[in-house]
C-alpha cells in the first residue's frame, strides 16, 4: 500500500469543476449492500451544532436526501461545538462509547484511535473508495499505509489582497517576495497594516514559515524531514524562518498581531485596515458573503528567490470521518456513508468557499461569489500541495513548534537557531 502524502494537483480544477466519478445517483441501480427489507440504525457525531455553522445546512440537506433514498436507514445524529467535541471524543473513545460514524480533525486523535483498534480498516474498500477522492484528500486518509478515514472537504491557504487599498498607494498585488517587502515598506510609512493574521490562534503565523519552507525545500523534502529521514537543521529551514521574521520586523503586521485571533484578523481585512491576509480558503465564502466595498484578488503566496516550485500551495484534507471498528453491517454502513459523503461534500462546496475532497462533477456554481470563483481558478494552477505540517505532528510538539515560530516571528528568538530548535522539538 502506498501512502501518498503529496499530490500533483495539475488537475486540481477537478476539486470543484472537472469531471470525476459521481456514482451516487446510480447507487440503487447497482447491487446494494443495504437490504431494503432490513431496518438499520447508524449513530453519527459531527461538529457544527448551530444552524449558523457552515456545515449545518449542507449536512441537513444531505441527510434529508438520504432519508428519501434509504428510508429503512435510521440515522441518530449528535452535533457538538468544536471545543466540546475535542474533549468528548477522546473521553468517549477511552470509554469505548464511540458512535458508528464520526468526525475528526486530521492530526487530532486519528492515529491514536487507529492504534486503539477503534477505527474500521477500509483497505478492503480502497479500490472502490479512493478513485472517488481527490488525490490530495486521499493522502490524508491513511495511517501506517492502511486506509482508515474518509475525506470531506479540503483546505488550501492563499493570499487575499485588497486591490483598492493597494492602488491607493500606487501598489499592485505582489508577485514576488520583493514586491511584498516594497508594499510593507510603503504602507508602514503611511501607517497602514500591510498584512494581518490571528496570532492568538498560533497556526496563522506558523503557515507563513511553512509556505516559505514548502517553496524552498519542496513537499518531498518536508515529508522526509517530518519522517526523520532528513534533518530540519538545514539552511533552508533557517532561511524560511528568516523570511517570515523579516516581514514582521519591517512592520508588515499590526503591533497586536499576537493578541488577535482569526476573527479579529478577518475583521481587520474586511474593514480595510489591512491590505493582505494569508489565510485558509474558508475565508473566500465569508468574504463573498460580507459584500465588501472593495475589490479582492486571491493569489498564491508570492514567489521567493531560490524556490523549487512557485505554484506549490499549502493545503490538503483537514476534515475527515471515521467508522467505528465495531459497527454492525459494515458493508451496508459504508455504502450509506459513501452516498451521504458525496452529497454532503457537494453541498458544502456549493454553499461557498469549500474545496471538495470527493470528485464531484455537477457542482452548481450559480451561488458562488466572485472570490470563491477566483479561489477555484487559483487551485487549478497548484502543482504541489502539502498539508500544513503542524497538523501532521502530535499536538504537544505542534504547540512547542508554534511557540518557537512566534518567538522567531517577533524577534524574541534568533532565526539562525530555528533549524536546530525545530529538529529538537520534533525529535523529542
Amino acid at each position: 500500500m502506498k501512502k501518498r502524502m503529496t499530490a500533483k494537483l495539475g488537475s486540481a480544477a477537478a476539486i470543484v469543476l472537472t469531471a470525476g466519478v459521481f456514482m451516487g445517483m446510480s447507487a440503487c441501480a447497482q447491487e446494494s449492500a443495504i437490504d431494503p427489507n432490513q431496518e438499520y440504525t447508524i449513530t453519527f457525531w459531527d461538529i457544527n451544532s448551530s444552524e449558523l455553522d457552515s456545515k449545518y445546512k449542507p449536512r441537513e440537506k444531505a441527510l434529508d436526501e438520504m432519508a428519501e433514498l434509504y428510508p429503512n436507514v435510521k440515522v441518530e445524529t449528535s452535533y457538538f461545538q468544536d471545543l466540546q467535541y475535542r474533549e468528548k471524543l477522546p473521553v468517549s473513545a477511552a470509554a469505548n462509547e464511540l458512535p458508528d460514524f464520526f468526525f475528526n480533525w486530521v492530526g487530532g486523535t486519528t492515529d491514536a484511535l487507529v492504534k486503539a483498534g477503534q477505527v474500521l480498516n477500509l483497505t478492503a474498500y480502497e479500490d472502490e473508495l479512493v478513485p472517488m477522492w481527490e488525490d490530495a484528500a486521499a493522502d490524508s486518509c491513511y495511517s501506517d499505509g492502511e486506509l482508515y478515514y474518509m475525506p470531506s472537504v479540503m483546505q488550501a491557504y492563499m493570499l487575499y489582497c485588497n486591490v483598492d487599498l493597494l492602488s491607493e498607494y500606487g501598489l499592485e498585488v505582489p508577485k514576488t517576495y520583493d514586491d511584498l517587502q516594497k508594499i510593507i515598506s510603503v504602507l508602514s510609512e503611511n501607517g497602514v497594516n500591510a498584512m494581518t493574521a490571528g496570532g492568538k490562534d498560533y497556526y496563522p503565523i506558523a503557515i507563513l514559515q511553512e509556505i516559505f519552507d514548502l517553496r524552498l525545500a519542496g513537499s518531498e523534502m518536508m515529508l522526509k524531514q517530518l519522517n526523520g529521514e532528513e534533518s530540519f537543521d538545514t539552511e533552508i529551514t533557517v532561511k524560511s524562518a528568516q523570511l517570515m521574521a523579516d516581514l514582521y520586523a519591517k512592520g508588515g503586521f499590526p503591533k497586536n498581531v499576537l493578541s488577535m485571533d482569526s476573527n479579529d484578523a478577518f475583521a481587520q481585512f474586511t474593514t480595510g485596515k489591512a491590505a493582505m491576509m494569508y489565510g485558509g480558503n474558508w475565508n473566500s465564502g465569508m468574504l463573498d458573503a460580507a459584500g465588501l466595498p472593495f475589490e479582492v484578488k486571491v493569489i498564491n503566496f508570492p514567489s521567493v528567490e531560490g524556490e523549487i516550485d512557485s505554484n506549490a500551495m499549502l493545503g490538503g484534507a483537514c476534515d475527515i470521518y471515521m467508522i467505528n471498528s465495531e459497527v454492525e453491517n459494515p458493508d451496508a454502513v459504508i455504502e450509506w456513508i459513501k452516498e451521504f459523503m458525496k452529497r454532503f461534500t457537494k453541498y458544502q462546496v456549493e454553499d461557498g468557499g469549500c474545496i471538495g475532497g470527493w470528485k464531484i462533477d455537477d457542482i452548481d456554481t450559480t451561488n458562488m461569489g466572485p472570490i470563491t470563483q477566483q479561489q477555484n481558478e487559483l487551485l487549478t494552477t497548484a502543482t504541489d500541495m502539502i498539508r500544513n505540517w503542524d497538523l501532521l505532528m502530535d499536538f504537544e510538539k505542534a504547540l512547542n513548534l508554534y511557540t518557537k515560530i512566534e518567538e522567531v516571528f517577533v524577534g524574541q528568538s534568533d532565526a539562525d537557531t530555528f533549524g536546530a530548535d525545530m529538529e529538537s522539538i520534533v525529535r523529542d
Partner: protein, 314 residues
C-alpha cells in the same frame, strides 16, 4: 444538671431537653452512621475515588491508543517538570504570581473596601451591589470583555494613555509576553475580589456595635480601628478568604483560555491549562493525571500552611 433556658422538645407528651436528646442521638452509632453516610458516600464517589484514581493513573504510562499500560512509579512527576523546556514549571510560576497577587493585593483590598462599606459609609449597599456584579458574570464573558478593554487599537486603557499624552506607553497588553500574565491576573482579581469582599462585609457587619463604639471612645478610629478592632474580629473569615484565594489561583482556567489561550509564547500558561492540553489534546493520561495530582497537592499544602500560620498568629 441545670436545664434553665434550654430548648425543650415534646416526644410522646414527655418533655425532652435538647442537650439530653443530642447525647442520646450521638450515643446511637446507627443514627450517627445514617447521618454521615449520604455525605460520606457522595464525597467518596465524586471526590475521594477520582483523586485516588488520578493518583493511580499518574503512576502509569497510560496514553490513549497505546495497548499496554504499565506501572512506572513517580517518573511522570519528574517528566512534567523537565519536558517541553520546563513549561509546566513556568506554568506553576505563573500560578504563584497570581497567588501572591491574590493574597497581597486582592485580599487586603477587599478587606479595606469591606471595612469602609460596612461601617456606615453612605451608599454602602449600592456600592456592594455594583461591586458584586463581576461574580455573577461567567469567566468566559469576563475574559471577552477585558480583551476589548486591553485592545491595542480601541481598548480603553490605550485610549486613555493616548488621550493623556502618554501614547508611547500604549501596548498590546495581551500580546506582549512581559505584560500578558499581569493583564490576565488583573482581570482575575477584578472578578474574584467581590466574593472576598462580600465575606469580609458580612464579617464586619457581625462585629457588635458596642465594641466599635467603645473602641472609638478609646481613640481607635480610621486605620487604627481597622488594624486593632476589625481585623482581629475577622480572623476566621480572613483564613477562609486566604484559603479560597490560594486555591482559586491554582485552579484558574476559564479566563486564561478565553483571553490568551496560554499565549503569547506560553507566557500565560498555568497548571490547569497545561493539564487540559496534555489530557485532552495530547491524550497522555498518565502525565496529565500527574499534573492533576500536583495541583491538588499544591492546594492542600498551601491550605495547611495558611491554617498553621493563622493558628500561630492566634
Amino acid at each position: 444538671m441545670n436545664y434553665d433556658g434550654m430548648p425543650v422538645f415534646r416526644i410522646n407528651g414527655t418533655q425532652v431537653f435538647e442537650e439530653v436528646l443530642m447525647e442520646k442521638v450521638l450515643g446511637n452509632k446507627k443514627v450517627v452512621f445514617a447521618f454521615i453516610f449520604p455525605a460520606a458516600f457522595i464525597f467518596s464517589v465524586f471526590v475521594l475515588i477520582p483523586i485516588l484514581m488520578s493518583v493511580g493513573f499518574s503512576l502509569t504510562n497510560w496514553q490513549y491508543g497505546e495497548p499496554e499500560i504499565s506501572f512506572i512509579g513517580l517518573k511522570n512527576y519528574g517528566t512534567i517538570f523537565t519536558q517541553n523546556d520546563g513549561l509546566f514549571l513556568k506554568a506553576v510560576g505563573n500560578s504563584l504570581k497570581y497567588m501572591f497577587a491574590s493574597v497581597f493585593i486582592m485580599v487586603p483590598l477587599a478587606f479595606i473596601l469591606a471595612s469602609l462599606l460596612a461601617t456606615g459609609q453612605k451608599g454602602g449597599k449600592i456600592f456592594m451591589t455594583i461591586l458584586f456584579l463581576p461574580v455573577v458574570i461567567s469567566g468566559t464573558i469576563v475574559g471577552q470583555m477585558w480583551i476589548k478593554l486591553y485592545n491595542y487599537d480601541y481598548g480603553v486603557f490605550n485610549l486613555l494613555l493616548r488621550a493623556s499624552g502618554l501614547g508611547r506607553f500604549a501596548d498590546d497588553w495581551l500580546g506582549n509576553p512581559q505584560t500578558a500574565i499581569w493583564a490576565v491576573i488583573i482581570t482575575c482579581i477584578w472578578q474574584g475580589m467581590p466574593y472576598t469582599l462580600l465575606m469580609f462585609y458580612a464579617a464586619v457587619k457581625g462585629i457588635p456595635e458596642e465594641i466599635l463604639e467603645s473602641a472609638a471612645l478609646d481613640g481607635a478610629v480610621g486605620i487604627k480601628r481597622m488594624r486593632y478592632i476589625i481585623l482581629p474580629s475577622c480572623r476566621a473569615i480572613l483564613e477562609v478568604c486566604l484559603t479560597f484565594a490560594v486555591i482559586n489561583s491554582f485552579k484558574i482556567y476559564d479566563i486564561i483560555v478565553s483571553m490568551t489561550n496560554g499565549g503569547p509564547m506560553n507566557a500565560t500558561e498555568v497548571p490547569s491549562t497545561q493539564m487540559i492540553t496534555v489530557l485532552f489534546r495530547g491524550y497522555d493520561y498518565g502525565r496529565g493525571s500527574a499534573m492533576a495530582v500536583f495541583i491538588v497537592l499544591e492546594c492542600l499544602v498551601c491550605t495547611l500552611v495558611i491554617r498553621k500560620a493563622m493558628k500561630e498568629r492566634k
